[in-house]
Symmetry: C2
DNA sequence: CTTCGAATGTAAGCGGTGATAACAATGTAG
DNA sequence: CTACATTGTTATCACCGCTTACATTCGAAG
């Protein structure tokens, strides 16, 4: 029954999976390395081999979240539809991710990663914005978006998305309000970008 | 030397002050009730008389933050200037607050206050949005803002502000980038509201 | 003024935590 | 086969939030 092998074999991945579960349904801060170790069936000190510190575990989680969100937003932009359609898709993907990974998204944008976070993590938001940048460039090329430096234009977009979700999670919105606000924000953004 | 009175006299306020200091320059999570007690020169269990739990202390901090921000935004709208001017003032006040109270703002919008937070705290974001709502109503009355339900229209505004600040804090912006993005966001919002 | 209850602080201790150091088992490259 | 690197274990430290039982002080009613 208890002849578990001395080496777990895949502890790092297991820890990440378990951590994300706990994050999802009990929030960050409820996350304990010792508990993860227990759940994984290893000793309390074992996780330190893979994550020198608890913050490192959180950083890894956040980084993975950025990658998943960025990739989701990228793949949804495959076709060459109108700017309005792309914007709509982008927004709904973002909000969808936020709905299903609320705590993770919060972790991703929490200011805990300062000031000396792993460089990849520090660069992750930038890569997210690059997706928005591409959409805007496309729109400009089609004449559907007014001219201007794309990297600056992209800020209000991501900001609106991020703000909308944190507002939705904390502002005490009903789902219907959230949906209306979502539509409103899309239309709002569209107007803001109009030539 | 050590004939401190048995009763501190103003422990609750002292704790809040110390807590906000720690919050400001060491971030949340670094905040320890025991340490606060030490700094206040009081026994480790003393704070529990004023804040039954650590979360209660954080909630009080967040609530105070909401009140300060709301009041700051309200007072800056005294005159009856144009919508553009009011929007500008509102935005700069918000961002100014964010700059000076980064960790506090994060705390205010952190999803830790769920699902059974003190009702006043749950209502605080709503009151913040009410300020934005008033500005929008004014704008509509002047014909400077397009028609529509104000409570829905206000969402993109606050969302953009909140998103902009969290992006600024975590997105690795330089101050100049932040300023440009701020201007861009104001202009963006103005366009979005245009009739 | 005295008394007595409420408010506030203290002392002690519980279970839990993250981190580290010293040691043991396993995998792997030469 | 052997030496080394990796991964897990054991033991321990300092700290934490919280609770219970007790001490002191304050303030108001008699």
């Amino acid at each position: 029954m208890k002849d578990r092998p001395y080496h777990h074999g895949d502890l790092r991945a297991t820890l990440l999976t378990l951590a994300e579960e706990t994050l999802r349904d009990r929030g960050p801060g409820e996350l304990s390395l010792r508990e993860l170790a227990r759940d994984a069936g290893v000793s309390p000190a074992a996780p330190s081999r893979h994550f020198k510190t608890k913050q490192a575990l959180l950083d890894a989680l956040a980084l993975d979240g950025f990658e998943r969100l960025t990739s989701a937003m990228t793949t949804v932009l495959a076709g060459d539809e109108s700017f309005a359609a792309q914007l709509d898709a982008l927004t709904r993907t973002y909000v969808g991710f936020a709905r299903e990974n609320a705590a993770l998204l919060e972790l991703m944008f929490a200011r805990k990663h300062d000031p000396d976070a792993p460089p990849e993590l520090a660069a992750a938001p930038k890569r997210l914005m690059d997706v928005a940048t591409r959409v805007i460039e496309d729109g400009q090329r089609r004449g559907e978006v007014r001219q201007g430096p794309v990297d600056v234009l992209a800020v209000p977009l991501i900001a609106a998305l991020q703000g909308l979700t944190t507002l939705a999670l904390n502002g005490g919105f009903s789902p219907e309000q959230m949906d209306r606000s979502l539509d409103e924000t899309i239309g709002f953004t569209l107007r803001g970008f109009r030539p």
